[in-house]
Symmetry: C2
Subunit: 120 residues, 2 copies
DNA sequence: CAGCATCCAAGATGATACTG
DNA sequence: CAGTATCATCTTGGATGCTG
């Protein structure tokens, strides 16, 4: 069945909303090359709080996009890794990131021009 | 220069944050095939409020992703259309939307399984 | 029609402290 | 180490009314 993304009741839209989560895509991208531990993510993803990281990881796991594996060390070690499903999404996310890298300057210039028009 | 997306100071990250705006990508996608007027967007994009629509459109225009054109009719008519820069992004967004459509069921299933594990 | 200004409720998030 | 719990805050967004 074909859904209409612009309708809020559509399941695709529900998922699309989730995708626009501030941290989810960033984390997904970070897990893509290799599994990473909790505190390492916390250190590397600048600006995220422990609460948000924990929450976002839980959501991603629930969506089947990442795996959580705990090792019975003392103290416990937890590794997060990307699932096959997550990988299919991550490749798309990567395209988005590249877009941002490639066109960042153009956007910045547009913003400057816009602000200039308002001021002048 | 190569930026680190995981650092909050990076311009790419700033843009990436913007991309994860709840409505921006949806609107961009809607404008892709043809220009649309304000109230038409308001009607078609389910759940968005006038305030959010107005705000998001302004941001998109500032980023150089869409154009705003006012016609001197009475009452005034305003048409929003996508820019060449916006088009390059929209095509990527389209891939995201397709991903959501293609894998929506898989995500829903994963969620159900996750919830099941918790309950049982 | 296409907005902007104001007020207000709700949810998101940060800081801090605590636990297995 | 990898979280959870609680509280304070701060932003987000909806409702409403007004304007060119």
């Amino acid at each position: 069945m074909e859904y209409n993304v612009y309708a809020s009741a559509c399941p695709t839209r529900m998922i699309f909303d989730r995708l626009s989560d501030k941290w989810a895509l960033l984390i997904l991208d970070r897990l893509c090359p290799a599994p990473v531990r909790f505190n390492q993510l916390l250190r590397e993803i600048d600006g995220i709080s422990q609460k948000m990281l924990s929450q976002t990881l839980k959501n991603l796991e629930r969506d089947g996009l990442i795996n959580r594996q705990a090792f019975p060390t003392v103290p416990v070690t937890v590794e997060y890794s990307i699932t096959p499903l997550g990988k299919t999404l991550a490749s798309t996310v990567n395209v988005l990131i590249h877009w941002a890298q490639d066109h960042g300057d153009a956007v910045l210039a547009a913003q400057a021009a816009y602000d200039q028009r308002l001021a002048g």
